[in-house]
């Protein structure tokens, strides 16, 4: 479903990603783990071309989604982003009502009429396990929700445009433990319909939610395998050291 | 693709607006420079007006503006810097500081003519200074005060707190810290504020209309209780009244050009200082 071949990425002179090749199957959850600054967020942002927003970056190699190189056609970026949803580390709802937040992607891409939008908003909120908590206050400001609720709102917002892939950049790191477990549960549910890639610095979380895991260190993909295998029987020594906490 | 089209239309219009605004500036500057440059000569800058303002120069007005600038800054600069030191280094964040900040902002938005009224009532009449350099300087000083305070406050805020804590940890008192560490570090920014205030004050007309400005004085001032001519007032009078407006037009252009030159020089100096500061900060 998602495949990269020999990706090299530079921030100016800094070689941030070194020769990364990997494959991710559809309807799976893949986790990227690794110490801070190892490049996992940068790699994640390649898939919806969010790195394009930063000046002075260079990339070589291929990045294929469903067989197509997404970097070939620079004019269609927003089309691409419609198909790929992103959830950020800190919840970032818009200064609008709960309803309008979720409807935003639909409106901006001119998807459907009033009825369709209302329907999609409800469906997305249900999928994000937030509907029951907000169904009576859809017109209220999104800022009135708690942190965990805001993050689920952002997930609903991303789901509303019916993407096929969901990218999550440390989605629970700013949340309390209860909200975190709610989100992890959500990921379990969502993978039935979506392909999910999640960056996390919490190894236990990676072990809990993902099917495959990639371990990054200093811009290199050190190891990539099925999650159970990675955690019980890693092949590389660095992986072993990271997992057992020898460095962080 | 209509959302792409919308974007293109919107962004192109904004670009055009940007060019328009720059164009307006160049239009104004260009017009005055073009018409005024032929008037500027050594004679223009060093002699007084003759023939009912249609010939001669604007020397007394230059002198007058200079005196007013010096006078107003002598008043506003020390007072403004001290006031800013107090509110940003001493007073914490209680109601007094908040109130003072609001008052400073209010003072900054008062129109210049109101300062002129106030200056007339207080300095010219009540305190009996009469139409004088003293009254004019004090009035202009009041106008410049909030500007000095604001820029000094920002300059002080920009000094890293680590400097202060480092100094205090070595046993220096608060005042010593301010004098030896904070002020020197904030100095370039404070100077920028001073320069900008000078630029502001040299162009103001309304505050000096009724406190010091005279249309024509045969002699240069000899004391601070004398009246004085000033460039902005000179421009106003030459352009709108005077004995022969058409004949005096060149003088008006010349005066306007001098005023514009002052603004340009001021801005250049301020930008230069700012760049020097950025360089200095990058080296750290």
């Amino acid at each position: 479903m998602i495949e990269t071949k020999n990706i090299n990425f530079h921030y100016g002179d800094f070689h941030a990603l070194k020769n990364i090749s990997m494959q991710m199957k559809a309807n799976t959850v893949t986790a990227f783990i690794g110490p801070s600054g190892c490049g996992k967020s940068t790699f994640l942002r390649l898939f919806n071309r969010m790195n394009d927003l930063i000046d002075g970056t260079r990339m070589s190699g291929e990045c294929l989604i469903e067989g197509e190189d997404i970097y070939k056609n620079s004019g269609q970026v927003d089309e691409l982003r419609k198909k790929i949803g992103m959830v950020f580390q800190k919840p970032n709802p818009f200064p609008k009502s709960i309803f309008e937040n979720v409807a935003y992607g639909l409106r901006v891409n001119s998807m459907g009429d009033k009825k369709f939008i209302e329907q999609r908003v409800e469906e997305s909120l249900i999928d994000a396990a937030l509907w029951d908590e907000v169904k009576d206050k859809l017109k209220k400001s999104a800022f009135e929700l708690s942190g965990g609720q805001q993050q689920r709102l952002c997930i609903a917002r991303a789901l509303a445009v019916s993407p096929s892939i969901l990218l999550m950049d440390e989605p629970a790191s700013a949340l309390d433990p209860i909200s975190t477990s709610k989100i992890e549960e959500l990921i379990h549910q969502l993978k039935k319909e979506y392909t999910i890639v999640i960056v996390t610095h919490n190894m236990q979380q990676a072990a809990r939610v993902s099917d495959s895991t990639g371990f990054f260190m200093m811009g290199e993909l050190v190891e990539f395998s099925e999650t159970r295998k990675m955690f019980l029987n890693p092949e590389k020594e660095e992986t072993q050291n990271y997992i057992t906490g020898r460095f962080g | 693709m209509s959302k792409k089209l919308n974007q293109k239309i919107a962004f192109t219009s904004f670009r055009i607006l940007g060019i328009l605004v720059v164009g307006i500036l160049f239009w104004i500057l260009g017009f005055i420079i073009y018409n005024g440059i032929s008037v500027i000569s050594w004679e223009f800058l060093t002699t007084g007006p003759t023939d009912g303002m249609s010939k001669g120069g604007v020397f007394p007005a230059i002198v007058g503006t200079l005196l007013l600038v010096i006078g107003s800054m002598a008043f506003a600069f020390p007072l403004g810097v001290m006031s800013a030191i107090y509110t940003s280094e001493y007073a914490g964040n209680g109601w007094f500081v908040k109130f003072t900040r609001i008052m400073t902002n209010n003072l900054a938005s008062i129109p210049s003519i109101v300062f002129g009224l106030f200056g007339m009532v207080l300095f010219v009449n009540k305190l009996g200074f009469g139409d004088s350099i003293l009254a004019g300087s004090l009035t202009l000083g009041l106008l410049a005060l909030p500007l000095v305070i604001r820029t000094t406050e920002e300059a002080l805020k920009a000094v890293p707190n680590s400097y202060r804590t480092g100094s205090l940890a070595l046993g220096a008192s608060k005042l010593q810290t301010i004098r030896r560490v904070v002020l020197p570090s904030a100095f370039p920014n404070i100077t920028t504020g001073l320069i900008l205030s000078i630029g502001r004050v040299s162009g103001e007309t309304a505050p000096i209309l009724f406190t010091v400005a005279a249309y024509f004085l045969p002699k240069l001032p000899s004391s601070i209780f004398d009246q004085v001519m000033a460039l902005p007032y000179h421009l106003y009078v030459v352009a709108t009244s005077g004995t022969d407006i058409e004949a005096s037009r060149p003088i008006a252009y010349g005066t306007a050009l001098i005023l514009i030159a002052i603004v340009l020089i001021i801005n250049l100096m301020a930008t230069f200082l700012r760049l020097k500061l950025e360089k200095r900060n990058k080296q750290k």
């Binding site: 709802p93 818009f94 | 940007g18 001493y90 008052m103 209010n106 008062i110 309304a206 005023l259």
Partner: protein, 402 residues
Amino acid sequence: MKSSKRIIEKIIEGGLKLSGATTSIIILLIIIFLFKEGSGLFQSPSVENGYALYLNSKNTVNDLDVSEIKHIFDADITNWNEVGGADQEISVFRFDDIFEIYSDEELGEHYSLLPEKIKEIINENPNIIAYLPKAFAPSNVEGVKVLPDKTISFSDFFGGKEWMPTATPSPMFGVIPLILGTLLVSFVAILIALPLGLGVAIYLSELAGETTRKFMKPTIELLAGIPSVVYGFFGLVVLVPIVQETLNLSVGETAFTGSLLLAIMALPTIITIAEDALRNTPTAMREASLALGATHWQTIYKVVIPYSASGISAAVVLGVGRAIGETMAVLMVTGNAAVMPHTLFEPIRTIPASIAAELGEAPAGGAHYQSLFLLGCILFLITMVISVTAESLSKNQPNKGV
């Protein structure tokens, strides 16, 4: 630390504390002096000081208001029945008229016979209204009555539609034409400057590259630094003729010309503050919008502008404040007509321009002088309100969430 040093430090710190109070003290002084002078207007007599109006005792009219007095002496009202009296033609008598009727000898040494002569004239003319200095008027005399001194009232000032401070016998201090003139010029100026300024602010904060910004910011600061009188001169010599020709007017000095000039002057304020507000939008919010497939422009008008709305409003409010308070530039291009504005393309007068234009001619302490101070008070209050409004608007940034 040595105790002498301590004492010196305490003194210096005391001095600093005092200087901290400076701006508050100044505002207090401004309020006191301005309002003291200005409020004196309402204790000034509506007829010029030292003068009074005298009628024949048989005249049934006992009172005239300011507007009626003006119209009588302008010969707009010609019959006593228009002001509640009998059906008689009004005969207007001014003090100078006596010198045409009698020669200097007939009036006696030091004009000692003057009051007598005047009394005769009044007695002989029941329809007369005489405007006389109190010093030379007949007092406590049969057949002559004086109209009571009235002071200028609030409604004369705030509700009056005519501003003629030099009219005799009763100067008129109605501020409505000036207020309307000020509002008209300022609001049209903002109408022009707002879209222009917002557009440039968006351009600077969202579109322009680093080099363009480095070039444009000083340009805008330069525009902001040009003195008001230079703008006025430019407006006088360039804009006025252009307006006159393009719009085919009899004079180019109009409210519209003033608005154009004020718009240019208010631009830098609006641009810099709005640009600051736009730049302060959190990157995360922009990224969220882009990640959902929105274009840059969609992100700007759907997310960035609503987020910065309070900052942008502050920019507009401050721009309005700048426009309202402008003196010299407006004075030089809007003509000199302190009349009710009917269209945008006529000369008008604003409040600050009136103060600047008339203060030189108003005798100190007189009603005209005081009225100008009252205008100053109004201006002061308006700008206070604007400053406080802008302050509270810029504090109202929306919550940034978690």
